[in-house]
Symmetry: C2
Subunit: 360 residues, 2 copies
């Protein structure tokens, strides 16, 4: 059986779900959709075997401030990652892919497959997701570098798009990567039918990725290899060397490799995917009551429709409202119209300008 090593990218500290998501407890460490946190859900999706493939224990990549909470959450599930790779600072996804390839090759050999997964996504149809992984693994084992494509169901302007090329196995070659489009182009992409959202989920053989990185972004590869080689190890914890990592360009894996290599392939994944990118996205994927409301925590809705309320402690009363999101934490409360969910970043920017690190 071929081994697939899930490498979970858990280092983000997204601000779009403020005030719940904070630097030290970012969204992937919160139970937002189910009783499990997003990182717990991510890990539990890739266990056991699928077809001819077997999942190894995961590798978790994160930063120091998240390490304790994340490891406690995985301990609680009885999951023992082979490595917690701690980044002293973020260096974007190309560095993450390079570090992943190094660690996986060291541990499982050059033929092991790396499955690079963001820790903060929600996937509704796990069975379909695992079938897509198996399809991708076949192509990855044949030397391709895989990205998974989500068929768009709306003219989203917040994601990059992938234009598929000719069929290859259960996927397609990649004709082109497209930056986030404007509305008109997004509508054209949606109508065309050959475009997918780029979900930021990748799969590759460790050696194949290193080959391509040596060709297209050798500085990233070298600096990342040094950061792993010089890392301080302590049990499962691998503290990457900051000096080495400082020499690593901060660049995305898409830009550094995927848009350049002729080994790119896209595997369509009809999996009920969401990047949980806003409070409104969370309302959309959540189970609702008969009034279209979602309540998490100690919430009373009165004469309220199509709203989302989350309290992590206090009593929350929502009266006579429509289409509102209310999030109450111990030290901050957010009230936002669902249609303005993206503007939460304005509050976060103001807090940064006010140096309110206690709230970030």
């Amino acid at each position: 059986m071929v081994q697939i090593v899930p490498v979970i990218m858990s280092g983000g500290s997204g601000t779009r779900l403020w005030p719940l998501s904070r630097t030290a407890s970012p969204k992937q460490l919160h139970a937002l959709v189910s009783e499990m946190t997003l990182v717990q859900e991510t890990v539990m999706r890739v266990t056991g075997s699928e077809g001819d493939y077997v999942f190894t224990p995961p590798v978790i990549i994160l930063n120091e401030s998240q390490h304790e909470l994340a490891s406690r959450q995985l301990d609680a599930l009885g999951v023992a990652p082979s490595h917690y790779v701690v980044e002293p600072f973020g260096r974007n996804t190309a560095a993450v892919a390079a570090v992943a390839a190094e660690v996986v090759e060291d541990t499982y050999g050059a033929d092991a497959l790396v499955l690079l997964l963001p820790a903060d996504h929600h996937i509704r149809d796990v069975a379909a997701f695992r079938r897509a992984i198996a399809a991708g693994a076949e192509l990855a084992a044949a030397g391709h570098i895989i990205t998974f494509g989500i068929a768009p169901d709306r003219p989203e302007t917040g994601y990059g798009y992938i234009l598929r090329g000719e069929p290859v196995g259960e996927g397609y070659g990649v004709s082109a990567f497209k930056e986030k489009p404007d509305r008109a182009r997004a509508e054209a992409f949606l109508a065309d039918g050959r475009y997918y959202w780029n979900a930021g989920i990748f799969m590759f053989g460790a050696a194949a990725a290193k080959d391509e990185m040596a060709r297209y972004c050798p500085q990233v590869l070298d600096a990342s290899a040094d950061a792993v080689r010089l890392a301080v190890r302590e049990g499962a914890k691998v503290l990457l060397d900051g000096g080495a990592l400082q020499d690593c360009p901060s660049i995305s894996f898409d830009y550094a490799v995927m848009e350049r290599t002729d080994r790119a392939a896209v595997v369509p994944a009809d999996i009920g995917w969401s990047d949980v990118g806003s409070w409104n996205a969370l309302w959309e994927i959540a189970g609702k009551d008969g009034d279209g409301n979602v309540a998490r925590g100690d919430v009373e809705f009165v004469d309220t429709r199509n709203s989302y309320a989350l309290s992590d402690g206090c009593k929350l009363g929502v009266v006579g409202m429509t289409d509102v999101v209310v999030v109450a934490t111990a030290d901050a409360v957010l009230v936002v119209d669902r249609s303005a969910s993206q503007e939460v970043k304005t509050v976060v920017e103001r807090l940064k300008a006010q140096d309110r690190t206690d709230l970030l």
Copy 2:
């Protein structure tokens, strides 16, 4: 100079301003409009002298759970009430008026004038208010029992109305008291021009009120007099006797006396009055920024209009909203459309049903 004794009715525990207003810290003990609490504002309105009249130190009527906080607030202003009359339980405003008449007569003699003031109202034009008091005092000194009438500026269905009669001094006789009307009647009252809102502010000579109560509600007067006579006194504190008070019918001063006596008079008071009866009322009377917003505490408004936000500690972000009220306390948060402000009581009723006394 004739003495006017302000008797401040501070015993209420209104739930319409939940979650700020609670049993032990009701709305009159919060700084809602200015930097002063409503009871502080109420006391400071009736100091010094006005025309031929001089205000004595106030008498405060309240319940035990509010005594400590209220006395601290008045101490902070350097105000020393002559009495804190503590009700072991509420017995409505007829009993309050009777107790006030007894205490004032005991202290200042039968000719002293009692000015009975709710502690939880806001009055914008204090000079006009004081002029109305002086006009009322002249009538009260002549034996009338005065209620102050607010000229309606909208067809309000939440207040009782007074139909004025023939002119008497600077006021009018009372033709009729009208219960809270339905919308059509409220509109007719507004159009008529002879109707006033009954603001629940009364003025009378101590002896005159006792005469009328002896005639129209002798049980109230007797029980109240006993409650004062048997009270436990401790410095300025007068703890009314519960046993005596239990024999007192619970009835309003309007119903017990004003609607029956031929000594009733109404003095119009164009004073910018509000009973601060809902969060929307508070938004209406507050100073607003250019977007029509009111912020109290640590609030960030983003793309928000005509809204009210109050935080008593945490950071509050309000994004993309219109016509919303948000109130955040340490243990409870309320979000309500301004037009639904009266429905806050539904949340409070649910909390009662759930026996959540910690939140009430």
